[in-house]
């Protein structure tokens, strides 16, 4: 014989039990990930030492305001060019052929070294220049420079 009822007595779980259960759950997780946790503490300490922890905390708490300030600023016309330039510079970096540049840079460095070492103070006459073209090293440099100028003109 059961009447219709709708009253429900919730199970009263004491605060202390809930706290105990939560602590146990956390303790298990900490124990399972001991190494990462210790490293994490290290990282936190480093951030704290450098006062970055305070900065980051403040930033995250005020993220909406921060983001708003930054985007407002970035959307000003004077920033349009710099922002775009930053990205474009990155794009330029992406387009450069670093291997070739390396080759060229090596030679430049070598040239600079040679020039610095040279103690010649005499002037070079027109004839000296023509004669110098016979020197295979100079000839190679001049040819390379001419190719460079041609390539630049084509681009």
């Amino acid at each position: 014989m059961a009447e219709k009822i709708s009253n429900v007595k919730r199970m009263e779980i004491p605060e202390e039990t809930i706290r105990q259960n939560n602590l146990e759950e956390v303790a298990t997780a900490v124990s399972n990930h001991k190494t990462s946790i210790l490293k994490g503490i290290d990282l936190l300490e480093a951030l704290n030492q450098s006062e970055m922890l305070d900065t980051l905390t403040a930033l995250v708490k005020h993220r909406e305001a921060a983001l708003s300030n930054i985007t407002r600023e970035l959307n000003k016309s004077e920033y349009a060019a710099p922002v775009e330039n930053i990205v474009k510079l990155v794009q330029i970096a992406g387009k450069m052929d670093v291997d070739e540049m390396q080759y060229l840079a090596d030679r430049m460095n070598h040239a600079v070294k040679e020039a610095a070492a040279s103690e010649t103070s005499e002037k070079t006459s027109y004839m000296d220049l023509l004669k110098a073209l016979k020197d295979p090293e100079i000839n190679r440099s001049v040819t390379m420079l001419l190719q460079f100028l041609r390539g630049m003109g084509k681009a």
Binding site: A2, K4, I5, K9, M11, E64, T71, V83, V87
Partner: protein, 983 residues
């Protein structure tokens, strides 16, 4: 017949085989060649609005999607001028759509604009984005429209007009800046939109988006509108050219995978069995996304499946087992609840015998749970007193089919209904009860010349759309069906060859039809003789006929006989064994089919094998190591009676609010009060649960694994999307644990173990296994051991000894009518928005805002006669009880007929009015036979149907998106021609 000839088409110099009639873009997509495309979608077919799929065909630039392949076609996709035309089209799209992907909630890897622009390699746009002069429409609780992001591809319009066929959306091409409009340009919430969400699913970008996604999906999208705008601007400056933009946004999109889960599940709101991915973030349901490969529904959904999931996070969910103690239920731990339940079961069994216990499974729970429940009853307790709630709706249909064709399920698939030349629906409010299936019929009728005849008391949407609509007098369908069949035979129009080869008992059946003359039928049904002969002519003349029926047939005292009459008509006209033909009882709940299939029936083991059969019983006895009683047990209806008679002391009800949904509430709840021990397993403290001694907290479909079987006999897997709330548990696990407490260790680790056992015992499911059901794979029973399934039944004959079907003789006697005192007939059934008694859908604020309460539909004539107006409050009194409710006046009902939706569990609950009359063959309550008298409490009041209900909208039917109107605009130039001009 399909033509299997192939023809050769050359694409970029390579020859490809194409099928006749194939769309050129469709063919290109089967090759490695990339052609940009945005408006094209396989599920929708060509719309031809986006102009991006330009190709050169025999020297001319054309839209590939607007071209049908012809033999010898020479197609080029890569010449420079073709590429320029494609780019021009993409530029036009980007004038209409701002790419700020990183801070867009739709940046989830599936944005088709993003993906197309990226794959095309477009780096910059030639012309700037231009904002449109329209506000975002945020009026709907379900989705929002952002005209600024809308590229006017018209997919949403196509899907609304021709797939869902609700005919709400269109594009107004005549404005200076065209946009999508709802009805005659009203806010979404005030339109005829039914909230099916298919426009949102079909939208290729973020123009139409689920409200639940906005500000939720992205890491950087949940900001104040002003800030979001600033961020969009920064994004655009900082990401010049699309390359960097995509690099950043693609990274952000893959980061989203980390916190958004996409899980395949099966809808629980009706027997269509829609499948989709549900996107969840923690416990939040972000959205429901149907897939092209969803077997039953494709990209379709209805309002409940798409937006009705709030209940899983309801505060009212039960989270701990409850045991009655005096005037209260007290929360206890599982062990205590299970031990107590087991102890009480044992005591009652020891005291009164096993048959003093009853078990009721749920047609909302899984197949595995149905199997477990009947195993608990039969093996552990030792009784066949196990049934399920499909007793309330569909058992008569199953009975009618068993009598005639031998399988109790739909003859074919939903595809077959769509393919039929003619569809007849009887007693089915298909557009509201099975919305996605109804859409297939609506589409076939609208676009492909299918003839639709609707037989119903009420002129609901299908009745309004039908080619012919008939309103036979309540409960007389058997008569017109038999009269039409008789007339066909009398005229010699029966399918003689089919009958000779495949059907038994023709002569006896013909004899039984004698009384069903046209005169008699007219007198009983109210359908004129002229109309009856026209129906017969039409039925006899079509090649492929499919008949769909539902509760308007089954919930009568002659429900089984009427279902039988339907099958008889199909047999006489040869409408079985072929595609596009057959009998389709439209199953109500998601697992009405499966719950019975898997043995929760008093007379059947799983797979409809008789309990009374020694051979079958022995198979189960051997497997389970016990003796099982040979006599069938009690069905639901008999269990309630047995409680009143003191023969049943214990009842265990799973996932069913029996005290609301069984007929004659007062009688049923009086029975509950007499029980010695009552266990209810549910998500909520339902009206039924309030009578329980033990309430066990179960989980909804999103929190468990298992399989459901839809109306097509299609078994589909659901995967777990969320963790159970609190201490709630899946039904199968609870049943398993009770069995264990009673000394039977079933060793099931997961539902797949249960399915394996069922498949090993029931030949109907021999080849069913979880491995064959992964993701969107499905199986339609019978399934052979090698996994071969049966989309279309009876292709090799009927499952009787001689492979022949049987015509089953019937007679008719009018068992129900109104009289002078109880002068009004109460029709009752579903509405689109709500499910069953409303325990789930009323938890959705969006759905509830559209339909806050049940109501009583009254015809204008009756309202006039009784002097009542919209919003009046009336009391309806039947011989068993009374309800009160608010009146909605509508011509969907006529004369002295009322309609009361069944979705209320309070003072308007229909079952206060229903009585103990049942179908004479299956004990299904005759819910549809309710005569009442009406007392007016208040003559007018607030309308129960809010102004934002779709029924108040103004649909705008048209075919597709009317792209011709776009092409006729003065400012429109075909990109192909433009290239020519410029080039």
């Amino acid at each position: 017949m399909e033509n299997h000839d192939h023809l050769i088409v050359t694409i970029d110099g390579e020859d490809y085989l194409a099928s006749p009639g194939q769309n050129l873009l469709d063919l290109i997509n089967t090759t490695e060649t990339f052609v940009p495309q945005i408006c094209y979608n396989e599920s929708l077919g060509p719309i031809q609005t986006c102009d991006t799929c330009m190709v050169e065909l025999d020297g001319e630039i054309v839209r590939a999607c607007g071209t049908t392949v012809q033999a010898g076609m020479n197609v080029k996709t890569d010449p420079v001028h073709v590429n320029t035309a494609q780019k021009e089209a993409l530029d036009r799209i980007l004038e209409n759509h701002e790419l700020y992907c990183t801070v867009c909630d739709y940046n989830n890897g599936s944005c088709e604009i993003h993906n197309t622009v990226q794959e095309f390699g477009l780096e910059h746009q030639s012309r700037p984005f231009e904002s449109k002069p329209y506000e975002i429409d945020n009026s709907s609780p379900f989705y929002r429209y952002d005209p600024d992001q809308c590229i006017l591809c018209g997919r949403c319009v196509e899907v609304c007009q021709d797939i869902q066929v609700n005919e709400t959306l269109l594009i107004d091409w005549n404005r200076e800046r065209p946009r999508v409009v709802w009805d005659n340009d009203v806010p979404i919430d005030e339109s005829s939109c039914v909230g099916c969400g298919q426009c949102v699913t079909a939208c290729p970008c973020n123009a139409l988006m689920e409200t639940s996604m906005v500000g939720e999906a992205g890491y950087m999208t949940d900001h104040e509108p002003g800030l979001l705008r600033s961020m969009i601007d920064v994004t655009k400056t900082a990401e010049p050219g699309y390359g960097p933009l995509f690099a950043v946004s693609d990274t952000e999109a893959s980061m989203r995978e980390e916190r958004i889960d996409k899980t395949k599940t099966v809808c629980t709101y009706c027997g269509v069995g829609c499948t989709f991915d549900v996107w969840t973030k923690d416990r939040k349901v972000l959205k429901v996304e149907p897939q092209q490969e969803s077997p039953a529904n494709g990209i379709s959904t209805c309002i409940k499946g798409k937006f009705g999931w709030d209940y899983v996070n309801s505060e009212e969910r039960l989270t701990k087992p409850l045991i009655r103690n005096g005037e209260s239920f007290v929360e206890v731990e599982w062990d205590e609840a299970l031990n107590y339940t087991a102890k009480r079961f044992e005591e009652i069994k020891a005291d009164k015998g096993a048959d003093a216990l009853g078990f009721i499974s749920s047609s909302k729970a899984t197949n595995e749970e149905s199997y477990s429940m009947q195993k608990l009853a039969r093996q552990v307790i030792g009784t066949n007193n196990v049934d399920n709630c499909s007793r309330y709706c569909q058992s008569p249909a199953t009975k009618g089919l068993f009598r005639t064709v031998g399988h109790g399920g739909d003859s074919g698939s939903i595809d077959d209904i769509a393919k039929a030349d003619m569809v007849i629906t009887i007693g089915s409010n298909t557009a509201e009860s099975h919305p996605v299936l109804a859409s297939r019929i609506k589409r076939s009728q609208k676009l492909f010349g299918q003839t639709l005849y609707v037989f119903d008391l009420r002129k609901q949407e299908m009745g309004q759309r039908a080619d012919r609509f008939f309103q036979p007098k309540s409960g007389t369908d058997l008569v017109w069906l038999s009269a039409v069949t008789k007339y066909i035979i009398d005229q010699g129009w029966e399918d003689r060859a089919f009958i000779d080869q495949w059907v038994n008992d023709f002569d006896a059946y013909k004899q039984s039809l004698e009384p069903f003359t046209l005169e008699y039928a007219e007198e009983m049904t109210g359908i004129t003789q002229a109309n009856l002969t026209e129906i017969a002519e039409q039925v006899a003349s079509v090649g492929k006929l499919a008949i769909c029926w539902a509760m308007g047939v089954t919930q009568h005292q002659l429900g089984s006989d009427t279902s039988t009459a339907i099958s008889n008509l199909l047999l006489v006209t040869g409408n079985y064994m072929r595609e596009g033909t057959g009998a389709y009882p439209l199953r109500g709940h998601n697992n009405v089919q499966g719950c019975s299939d898997f043995g929760s029936m008093p007379n059947f083991f799983p797979g409809y094998e008789e309990v009374a059969s020694d051979e079958v019983r022995q198979r189960y006895e051997n497997a389970w190591g016990v003796d099982i009683p040979a006599t069938p047990g009690l069905d639901n209806h008999e269990m309630i009676g047995a409680i009143h008679e003191g023969e049943l002391q214990s009842l265990y009800v799973l996932g069913e609010d029996t005290g609301i949904v069984d007929a004659n509430i007062n009688y049923v709840t009086a029975a509950f009060e007499k029980l010695d021990f009552f266990v209810v397993q549910d998500l909520f403290l339902t009206e039924t649960a309030k009578y329980a001694d033990v309430i066990l907290p179960a989980v909804p479909s999103l929190e468990k694994e298992g399989t459901f079987t839809n109306t097509e006999r299609r078994i589909q897997r659901l995967y777990q999307a969320l963790d159970p709330v609190g201490d709630s548990r899946p039904d199968w696990r609870i049943i398993r644990d009770i069995a264990e407490k009673l000394g039977y260790d079933w060793l099931y680790d997961s539902p797949s173990d249960i399915m394996d056992e069922a498949a090993s015992l029931a030949p109907l499911f021999a080849g069913v296994s979880y491995d064959r059901l992964t993701n969107y794979n499905s199986l339609q029973w019978p399934v052979a051991p090698d996994g071969t399934d049966t989309p279309l039944l009876f292709t090799d004959g009927f499952p009787f000894a001689d492979n022949k079907a049987k015509l089953y003789p019937l007679s008719f006697e009018l068992r129900y009518d109104t009289d002078d005192e109880y002068d009004l007939h109460v029709n009752n059934g579903r509405v689109l928005e709500h499910f069953h008694e409303g325990n789930m859908t009323y938890k959705s604020p969006g759905i509830t805002s559209k339909m806050p309460t049940a109501f009583i539909e009254v015809s204008p004539d009756l309202a006039n006669e009784r002097g009542i107006n919209e919003g009046a409050e009336v009391k309806l009194i039947s011989r068993t009880g009374e309800v009160t409710g608010a009146v909605h006046i509508t011509d969907r009902v006529s004369g002295n007929e009322l309609y009361l939706p069944l979705n209320d569990n309070g003072r308007t609950a229909i079952n206060y009015l229903t009585d103990n009359n049942v179908d004479k063959d299956t004990d299904t309550p005759a819910y549809k036979e309710v005569a009442v008298k009406m007392e007016v409490i208040k003559k007018k009041g607030k309308s129960p149907l809010p102004p934002n209900n779709y029924r108040r909208g103004n649909p705008q039917p048209q075919v597709s998106v009317r792209v011709e109107e776009k092409w006729e605009r003065d400012d429109y130039i075909f990109p192909g021609s433009q290239v020519k001009q410029n080039g």
